[in-house]
């Protein structure tokens, strides 16, 4: 199976583990505030329960993306067989798992944070339930963009990653045992670098947008009259918070497509 197969297995585990960590924590956050909300407003329990389920369904999606990439990695084991010693391909597989895992960690936790704050707001002011639910869904979708950028980069990486440079010091061996594959070093660095750029960049933006979304939901419930102004501040503020992840995507794509 070689180094590429080993990397694919490690990456599948990392992707699903990190993805489940974020979404799991987020789902729990939504449940915590739903319990508190039902305790505060027992008469509204049906609608609060429904809203919790809607929020949790969206919070679950980053984990599903991570599961998808983990399965893709597992089923690409066969492709790893034809090049047993390929650092570039190993880095591509490892990068795919890291990228979607870290991206799903941020988006999953962030979506849960928005659901948590929105349910708290709904229980504080049940009459604002409809507009808070809408803002919550917009916020959750927005917090998920980082994860979707990470998914794009991961799919690139699973399907092969950056083009490898022509073989350079291919026949060199470390301690006359391990082939160093000098030509593949740049390809491996491109794959791992693009995954780190996109994964870490997505976490920051997702968590930032999620924090803003949660606060916007709470504020909307507390002051429904200022709804239009809160929405304006939230949308412009989040759009600015999104830009670092767009820079990350640009750098990741430059690294992947080769300069």
């Amino acid at each position: 199976m070689g180094i590429a197969g080993a990397a694919a297995l490690l990456a599948a585990g990392l992707a699903m583990g990190l993805g489940a960590l974020g979404s799991g924590f987020g789902l729990g956050l939504a449940a915590i505030s739903a319990i508190r909300a039902v305790e505060r407003q027992p008469a509204k329990r049906t609608i609060l329960f429904r809203n919790m389920l809607v929020g949790q369904a969206v919070t679950e999606t980053p984990a599903i993306f991570a599961l998808m990439v983990a399965l893709l990695l597992y089923f690409s084991l066969e492709r790893a067989l034809d090049a047993p010693w390929s650092p570039a391909r190993a880095a591509a597989f490892l990068g795919a798992g890291l990228c979607i895992g870290v991206g799903a960690l941020g988006s999953g936790f962030g979506s849960g944070l928005i659901a948590h704050d929105a349910l708290d707001g709904m229980s504080a002011n049940p009459s604002s339930q409809g507009s808070v639910l809408l803002l919550m869904l917009i916020g959750q979708a927005w917090a998920q963009t980082g994860c979707i950028f990470a998914l794009v980069v991961s799919l690139f990486l699973v399907s092969g990653g950056a083009p490898s440079a022509p073989a350079g010091a291919e026949d060199l061996r470390l301690w006359s045992l391990i082939p160093l594959a000098g030509g593949e070093m740049a390809g491996a660095a491109r794959n791992l670098g693009s995954s780190l750029a996109m994964g870490l960049g997505a976490v920051g933006s997702s968590l930032g947008i999620a924090f803003a979304g949660g606060r916007a939901c709470r504020s909307l419930a507390a002051a429904p009259a200022a709804g239009a102004r809160i929405r304006a501040v939230y949308f412009i503020g989040s759009a600015t918070a999104q830009s670092p992840s767009v820079f990350s995507l640009i750098v990741a794509l430059i690294l992947l497509l080769g300069a």
Binding site: G168, A197, G208, F211, A212, S219, V233
Partner: protein
């Protein structure tokens, strides 16, 4: 390893570390500003809910603060592009 092997390896190694460094640079450089700008936007929403009449002032302060925060991400972008195309 003998001297000749080391010489053959140095070129690809330097290139590889520059590319890896570009990725780490943009990743970590994007993480901080994203978190910070989002935090500022959240606090601005709270402030507007508390004092809707000060909306313009709050909005302007938030935007200026975010623009300054954004500069860190732009530094990271510039450095990583320099590293990729060096």
């Amino acid at each position: 390893m003998n001297e000749e092997t080391v010489k053959l390896l140095i070129g690809p190694l330097v290139q590889a570390f520059a590319l890896l460094g570009a990725g780490i640079c943009m990743g970590l450089g994007g993480l901080g500003p994203g978190l910070g700008e989002g935090y500022a936007a959240g606090k601005a929403c709270e402030a507007v809910a508390k004092r809707p009449e000060e909306y313009a002032q709050i909005f302007r302060t938030m935007l200026v603060g975010q623009a300054v925060t954004e500069s860190c991400a732009i530094y990271a972008l510039v450095v990583s592009i320099i590293l990729v195309f060096h």
